[in-house]
């Protein structure tokens, strides 16, 4: 169904843009209602025929992907859910993508959160992603959920030197020492990669200043699009990479699909799905800017 839809919609939009181009070459301005019509098509068609584009990862996302991909199997990755339900629709796709990638590479995943609301979101991720898609993974050996601890940067301060000072047990109360994956784990410094997801306070910035920098541990970030510009200055020196908004998640999902085609054949890709109409709309806006300038230059030359 979606392939036919793809052809039809592409045909409509390309033909329309061509017609607009000819109009502009003749120096006629496109009527604003035509532009509105194009926007309506550009957004609703990909929704109806769920068209999506393979997103090629930008450097800031690819660095994170390469880091997790090249870590030796069994490396220890800490994933921190630092966001609430209102930001969840924008950052959940990326936190699930991180989980899938770490588990498919056989890494050990340590889940925790600095936001109280993160705890229930982490729990749903464990059920919907790990338990359903990776039944072979064993709790306490391959992954653990440490849950929420109040104190924000104070928590980071403590676990930077000793996990057990802050977390004596995991979220369900089992003692850390009874879990094989905690043998020899003394502090954050024993982690191979830290990932913080969330754009508020405490968030990625606090993880950089209070954990990654003092402990010299590599850190990757994930945040809502609106807070990405505030985190860009930390890349690349204090942060190996950053996923910004739905676009970052879509790029990561397409990398996962491209490099692990069989394992992730029918993996849900909310990021890529959402980016379908976004990309189409952006391309139409870009086309209008180009056409607008053409008709301007032609009318100026005609004017002279």
């Amino acid at each position: 169904m979606s392939s036919i839809g793809l052809i039809i919609s592409f045909f409509i939009i390309v033909a329309g843009l061509l017609w607009l181009l000819i109009q502009s070459i003749r120096g006629q301005e496109a009527d604003r209602r035509v532009i509105f019509l194009f926007m309506a098509i550009a957004v609703s068609v990909p929704l109806l025929f769920n068209i999506s584009f393979s997103e090629k990862a930008t450097l800031i996302v690819e660095d994170v992907y390469r880091k997790i991909e090249n870590l030796p199997a069994g490396s220890k990755i800490l994933l921190s859910y630092d966001y609430g339900p209102s930001m969840s629709p924008e950052v959940e796709p990326m936190s699930n993508a991180f989980l899938r990638h770490a588990l498919v590479k056989g890494h050990k995943v340590y889940i925790m959160c600095l936001w109280a609301t993160g705890q229930s979101l982490a729990a749903t991720a464990v059920d919907s992603v790990i338990k359903r898609e990776f039944p072979e993974k064993v709790y306490g050996i391959d992954y653990v959920n440490l849950g929420y601890k109040a104190g924000g940067t104070g928590v980071l301060n403590v676990i930077l030197t000793d996990f057990r000072k802050m977390y004596l047990a995991d979220v369900v109360g089992t003692n850390l020492d009874s879990m094989p994956m905690f043998q020899g784990i003394k502090s954050l410094k024993d982690m191979d990669l830290l990932i913080s997801i969330g754009g508020g306070y405490p968030g990625v910035k606090e993880w950089i200043l209070f954990a990654s920098a003092p402990g010299n541990i590599p850190l990757a970030g994930g945040c809502a699009a609106v807070s990405a510009p505030l985190l860009y200055p930390y890349y690349p020196r204090q942060m190996i990479g950053l996923l910004g908004g739905i676009k970052g998640a879509a790029e990561y999902e397409s990398e996962l699909k491209k490099n692990h085609p069989q394992r992730f054949a029918n993996m849900p890709v909310p990021g890529i799905k959402m980016m379908g109409p976004q990309t189409m709309a952006h391309l139409v806006v870009l086309a209008f800017i180009v056409i607008g300038n053409i008709s301007y230059f032609i009318s100026k030359r005609k004017g002279q």
């Binding site: 209602r33 957004v43 929704l47 109806l48 769920n50 699009a225 908004g245 109409p277 976004q278 952006h282």
Partner: protein, 215 residues
């Protein structure tokens, strides 16, 4: 019951979108409904939050805050505008509001905008680390710091009122307006995505919840 709600919402959604084609009775109906309902909504919210929640509760609790009566007196004075003979008394609460706003904004904006923004621009241009070798920081940071400091400086120059934009001062102002233009272009382009997701949300409502065409 829920179906009825979705149909009402769909009718209103399409009514508003029809304005894009041109002004029509369908849009006028939606507009008047929106104006009426929202005005009523705000009065009800203000009544429960401010009159009952803030004013009445503030007066009737154990250590009542009688200063709230000041607000009530000023409020009544504002209503006296309806009485033409002493309508001029309504200028008193107005000047109270303007005085309070001016005083509050002056200090607030000054400390948060001027002091904070200036102090965060004081970046070392070359090597950020203390005592590190001269060009240790990567080109990326050096250029970045220079642009931030120079851009802020020339931006301020552009906003100068009392000096002609000529000579060196004029060039600095020109660089300043260029920086500001880059800022406007960049933030316009950056917000396009968030505006699109609003429309995508409405389209999902129309095609999904209402027409059920989306899997």
């Amino acid at each position: 019951m829920e179906i009825f709600g979705t149909w009402v919402a769909a009718f209103l959604t399409l009514g508003i979108i029809s304005f894009l084609y041109r002004d029509n009775p369908w849009y006028k109906v939606c507009e008047s409904i929106f104006v009426g309902i929202s005005a009523g909504y705000w009065f009800v919210t203000l009544f429960f939050d401010n009159i009952l929640g803030l004013f009445w509760a503030g007066i009737t609790r154990e250590d009542p805050n009688y200063m709230l009566l000041v607000g009530a007196v000023l409020g009544v004075m504002m209503l006296l505008r309806l009485v033409p003979s002493i309508g001029w008394i309504s200028r008193w609460p107005l000047s109270f509001v303007v005085g309070a706003t001016a005083g509050f904004y002056l200090i607030n904006y000054f400390s948060s905008n001027v002091m904070l923004q200036v102090s965060s621009t004081l970046l070392p241009l070359l090597s950020p680390g203390f005592g590190q070798p001269l060009f240790s920081s990567s080109l990326y940071d050096v250029v970045g710091n220079i642009i931030v400091a120079a851009g802020t400086f020339t931006g301020l120059v552009y906003f100068f009122f009392s000096k002609e934009h000529k000579g060196a001062f004029g060039h600095a102002a020109k660089i300043g307006i260029w920086t500001i233009m880059i800022t406007f272009g960049a933030s316009f382009g950056y917000t396009v995505m968030s505006r699109m997701s609003l429309l995508i949300g409405r389209m999902e409502f129309i095609f999904g919840n209402w027409l059920g065409m989306i899997r």
